[in-house]
Symmetry: C2
């Protein structure tokens, strides 16, 4: 009896989980794989998506673009001729620093799940709260720029721990930084030894093929060949 009561309380408290499950059911019914892409502000999420989605092959990709306000990233990605839906957290959502399952759900009527195979949710730039809210995704990935310092996995461990893939970006700047790449990789391994770690320069394209292959393969039984 005691266990049952605890379960009821947890379910009631965690409305986000309930709504994430509803989102998941909708994604499954339409056969859409979903990736939640997160990072600090300016780590290069949009540039990375521009790079890899330009080479998306036959996969029908849509993007749900989360920002406090504005639609600059959505406008950039729309240039790839893919459906992009802007989700701003300032109006009805009070300027939230993250997306949650309910915000994502509010945007689903515009996303047209029946017309896509993969939905990339580009979260609000923030290394704290986005990691706390499941939205019904198949996988979480984060972009970590080498300009942010080696200590970020230790300072924001939940974000690094919750992600399946960590993309270490802006590697083209390494010759110009006092930066110990091995220390960053060690720190990522300390907080999330299960993570798949990739090194990219979204600006030059270096290393982005591996992220493209992973992204397009999410939710598929057979991985996309490299």
């Amino acid at each position: 009896m005691h266990r049952t009561k605890i379960k009821v309380a947890e379910d009631a408290l965690d409305a986000n989980t309930t709504i994430a499950h509803a989102n998941r059911a909708d994604f499954d019914r339409e056969g859409v794989a979903v990736v939640n892409l997160m990072s600090a502000p300016g780590a290069g999420k949009t540039t990375l998506l521009e790079r890899v989605l330009a080479d998306r092959g036959e996969t029908r990709v849509g993007v749900l673009e989360g920002d406090v306000q504005g639609s600059m990233d959505a406008d950039r990605l729309s240039a790839l001729h893919i459906p992009v839906v802007q989700l701003n957290t300032d109006g009805g959502f009070g300027g939230e620093c993250h997306l949650d399952a309910n915000m994502v759900r509010s945007a689903l009527p515009d996303v047209q799940l029946g017309k896509i195979d993969l939905l990339v949710i580009e979260n609000v730039g923030n290394l704290v709260c986005p990691a706390e809210f499941r939205v019904g995704e198949d996988a979480k990935a984060m972009v970590c720029s080498v300009t942010e310092g080696e200590d970020k996995p230790l300072k924001y461990p939940l974000m690094f721990r919750t992600c399946d893939v960590v993309v270490v970006n802006k590697t083209d700047l390494l010759p110009h930084l006092d930066f110990d790449l091995d220390l960053l990789l060690h720190n990522i391994d300390r907080v999330n030894p299960e993570a798949t770690v990739m090194q990219t320069s979204a600006r030059t394209g270096d290393g982005t093929g591996a992220f493209r292959d992973w992204l397009l393969g999410v939710g598929r039984e057979v991985p996309v060949p490299a």
Copy 2:
């Protein structure tokens, strides 16, 4: 009557403002100037403080270091032989992505206001929520790295709007970036034409003297000479 009722409701809702006023009263009683320093993760707040507080002259400076967890930045600043108090938001505060007035208040017994002239509060790395919570400070400043892109003032306008000073940092990397500094300055001016904008490289020290002079002059009637 109607106006009075609204006022009562606002006061009751905004406990943060009430506590910020209490903090302010304590700072005033002890004659301590307080600066709330904010930025995205990895923009260089701690490196900038290391640089300018090494040259603090006679000013007795203390630091209140906000992080979700860990004390790496506090350890770095303690090496300057200044009192540093670590305030982690994960334990009693649920992993909050910002400092608020109540968190700052909880740390004041450790800060020993009677022994300092200036308290620098290094907020959690985040461009959204830290801007929403006054903590009783005299001034707010932010660090914005040129690696984060020119669009950040437009995507996180509240942060840029709320700050008295915007420090554009990592200027040593400009030759290695596809970055339009004039566009960033224009975007800062669009959202906050009143801001004092400084350009620094905390790594090389270039331009940091102006920030040092401003920081040490906060709360003083006569500015510190350059």
